[in-house]
Amino acid sequence: MTVAYPFTAIVGQDDMKLALSIAAVDPSIGGVLVFGERGTGKSTTIRALAQLLPKIDAVKDCPYNCNPEASKQGLCSRCQSADALKTRKIAIPVVDLPLGATEDRVLGALDIEKAIHNGEKAFQPGLLAAANRGFLYIDEVNLLEDHIVDALLDVAASGVNVVEREGLSVRHPARFVLVGSGNPEEGELRPQLLDRFGLSLDVRTPRDIPTRVEIIKLRDAFDHDPEGFSKRFARKEGALRRKIDAAREVVESVDVPSNVLEKAAELCLQLGTDGLRGELTLIRSARALAALERKDAATLQHLKYVALFVLRHRLRRDPMDESSADARVERAIEAALA
């Protein structure tokens, strides 16, 4: 396995880094979509996230990383029937869903080897199983084949993967944070899939020369000596990891005062976003941001900061209105939070 570029060594792209941290603090926010032109460091940043994530408790030898603390319904069938669950620490999984993946590997399928040799009907868990309680990363998400998207949508909505094929009938928990990246010029994203992402960003290459020079300098140093370079950033990485870990601990107890709730509702109403998902994500993101900043309560500032990420892909509009979506959200923010 090659050494990944350290997250904290990424120059600029603060919005992207913040959005990913927020999603790591509260997985229920529903993931991050990063759209942008080529060569902006989209995939580098997302891949770097894996090294930053804190460890979690999981049931030992459970292919679905079941949470020993979860209620019965939240466990896979094997963990449900087990008497005592042994625990172990695992790194929060970040699973890559590569282009060209087939359904049997994404959803899981009959284990051919066991079936042939032992005549045993065993389920071979797929990528969604491995991604349970972690992140599922899809690079070039807009190029993903339709039938894989369909399968994903269903699981992402329910948090349960149900496999009914080849005489198997398996259901297992599959709650994951969907992270996607892509270049909008290469294809549009299905609106249903777009809706699954909690936060969405539009990234650009920094245009000022010193920043660009800094990017290249660091990248050059990394290519020259990946291990040594990563060591240089180990302390910074550790600090951020602890920050995210601490925020995960407290996020549930961060208070969201009523004025923030009201403003969130007002914003959504004004922009005419569909359903409650936008409002909920708005509140959760503001809360996660407050937790990251070690605050006891979310403020209007927090709300204002996350509003654009949360709302920009949720406007009901004709789909060509891409350019003005940001402007509309910004206007609404100004109006509601001025």
Partner: protein, 595 residues
């Protein structure tokens, strides 16, 4: 461009192409030195002796000859998948390495890169980005190293170009078409030069000034990708090693501009660029700090030199041509991609699962699914197998066979032909645009592709080839100017031709013609109302013969008899743009054509 001194020392054509060959040779050496650090190279050339010679030269620089991979190599071969015979023998999924993994640390010749289908482009890009292939197919998950160097052989003429995502990941670019075979000389570099540069590469560092210089240069040419800048830095290092000159020397900078930046430049370098601090800042500095101001001036001077160098590399008109080409390639990328996608659809469609089937009927067997079907019965069948020689380790019955099912995607393309003539522009242009926008939204929900033709003056022009990017469609439409005559015949002909090329790719075309029907320019460009109408009607009959469904939207203030006449010649549905909302128009068109 006032700063251009491009033509100050004109070269003879022979000398020009000799230079071009030197560049090509240099590029080959750079690819051999840098390998995947430069991503690869785009070689624009028709097949011929010069290209062959260049490829042989490249091979002579590397330990192993390049491996040729056709651009239509499908996903399962690129990434790898289940090895059928081995899997059958051992009764478990066994991985067959794909082409990308097989080419780890090798040079790959991607032939006919301009035909690389969109759905395979992602695999190439992922391998170039990560140096690995990550597969999750046929019951196998695996990561193999795959750091490849891609030589994209681009034989595209005019309209064709490799996918933009691929081009972005190749650091170098050359064009061999202009080079005469007489200029091809023996190599100036030996294998040992390459190896020595390679070994010293990791010890070469770049100063901050050089980095800044490179970043400014790239920015001045509209190259903003960090990836390209990183390529430029590594290529500059290699150039400096080859030439024995520092990076700031023109022996490094000039080839760098020619081979890396100019081919992807989005704009002309301007002699003075934005990053320079404004005058005011200079004044302040003057008061306080003289030496610094001098370095500032020196830097400015350096910058000017660089820009001069960039400008001098090619004569002015060539730059213009180049920029136009770049513009074209941006427009074209989606088109070529789509063409590939559709052609593939025709061949086999998108996989939509498996079903029971038999081998004889030319279906493609889905091996993993078949094995899964056969698997539960293996123990039982083994005990039933009474024959003495139990040769098979696997019992597969005909009923186990599963075949892949493909669905021919019913891709459709809606061609909008918009009358942008003076008469229309005066009347209902904005309403027409509004109606089209609503229709575009409708196309979006049906995942229909759209194309845009505008006609005015004496020509009809395809403003937008079939695309799914509605943002682009909308932008193009918004920028559509109005004015001039109504070349109806030309418009119908353009629609006809585009519709035919759409059906040639396997998609179903339909069209929406927005006009007031007042044809007044004949096919030959003559301004005549009668000839214009006559030509329009005959073109309309030709189009009607193709049975392609269409709608004519009358944009005149009052429904005009001429538009109605035209629509009956077209055998198209006639819809006067109602005084009511564009929304109701949308509804009527939807029911008539899309649904």
């Amino acid at each position: 461009m006032p700063a251009s001194n491009a033509l100050s020392k004109p070269l003879s054509p022979e000398a020009e192409t000799a230079n071009a060959w030197h560049d090509a040779e240099l590029a080959a050496a750079l690819v051999a030195i840098l390998r995947h650090k430069a991503g690869g190279i785009r070689v624009c050339a028709q097949p011929g002796p010069v290209r062959d010679y260049w490829l042989a030269l490249l091979d002579s620089f590397t330990e192993e000859p390049a491996r040729r991979v056709p651009s239509n190599t499908p996903t399962e071969r690129l990434l790898g998948g289940m090895d059928i015979t081995e899997s059958m023998r051992y009764g478990k999924p066994i991985l067959a390495q794909g082409v990308l993994a097989e080419c780890h640390q090798r040079v790959v010749l991607l032939s006919m890169a301009e035909r690389l289908p969109k759905e395979y482009t992602g695999h190439w890009c992922a391998a170039l980005d990560t140096g690995e292939v990550h597969i999750a197919r046929d019951g196998i998950s695996h990561t193999s190293p795959a750091s490849v160097t891609v030589i994209a052989l681009d034989e595209g003429i005019d309209e064709e170009s490799p996918p933009a995502g691929l081009i972005e990941r190749l650091g170098l670019s050359i064009n061999l078409d202009e080079i005469s075979i007489r200029c091809v000389e023996d190599s100036r570099y030996a294998r040992s030069d390459i190896q020595s540069a390679q070994s010293r590469l990791s010890h070469t560092t770049v100063t901050d000034e050089d980095l800044t210089r490179l970043a400014e240069l790239a920015a001045s040419m509209g190259v903003h990708s960090s990836r390209t800048l990183k390529f430029a830095v590594d290529i500059a290092k290699a150039l400096s090693l080859l030439s024995g000159k520092p990076i700031s020397d023109e022996a490094v900078m000039h080839p760098l501009i020619r081979l890396v930046l100019l081919p992807i430049a989005q704009q002309l370098p301007t002699p003075r660029t934005e990053p320079q601090p404004p005058e005011q800042a200079d004044d302040n500095r003057e008061d306080t700090d003289r030496p610094e101001q001098q370095t500032q001036q020196q830097e400015e001077q350096d910058h000017e030199d660089l820009v001069q160098a960039a400008m001098a590399e090619l004569p002015e008109d060539l730059l213009a041509i180049l920029l136009k080409r770049a513009e074209k390639s941006r427009q074209r990328q989606s088109k070529s991609g789509n063409a590939g996608e559709l052609a593939l659809d025709k061949q086999r469609g998108r996989p939509v699962g498996v079903r029971r089937g038999d081998v004889k009927r030319g279906h493609r067997i889905d091996i993993p699914a078949t094995l899964r079907c056969a698997a539960p019965f293996q123990t039982a069948r083994a005990t039933w197998d009474t024959s003495d020689k139990k040769k098979t380790s696997l019992y597969i019955e005909p009923s186990d066979i599963r075949v892949k099912r493909f669905e021919q995607r019913k891709s459709s393309v809606m061609i909008f032909a918009v009358d942008a003539s003076g008469s229309s522009a005066h009347q209902r242009m904005s309403e027409a645009k509004g109606a089209i926008e609503l229709l575009l939204a409708d196309c979006y929900s049906h995942r229909t592709e759209v194309a845009l033709i505008a006609f005015k003056g004496d020509t009809a022009e395809i403003l937008l080839p079939p695309t799914r990017s509605l943002v682009r469609a909308k932008r193009t439409l918004a920028q559509l100017p109005g004015g001039g005559g109504t070349p109806m015949a030309a418009a119908l002909q353009a629609t006809h031709e585009l519709a035919l090329s759409v059906s040639a790719t396997g998609a179903t075309p339909s069209y929406v013609l927005l006009t007031d029907g007042a044809a007044n320019v004949a096919r030959d460009g003559r301004k005549s109302r009668s000839a214009g109408t006559e030509d329009a009607l005959s073109a309309a009959k030709l189009l009607a013969n193709t049975q392609i469904k269409g709608v004519l939207v009358d944009t005149a203030v009052r429904p005009s008899p001429r538009a109605r006449e035209l629509s009956s010649a077209l055998d198209a549905t006639y819809l006067p743009l109602p005084n009511a909302s564009a929304q109701s128009l949308n509804t009527s068109i939807r029911t008539l054509s899309v649904g």
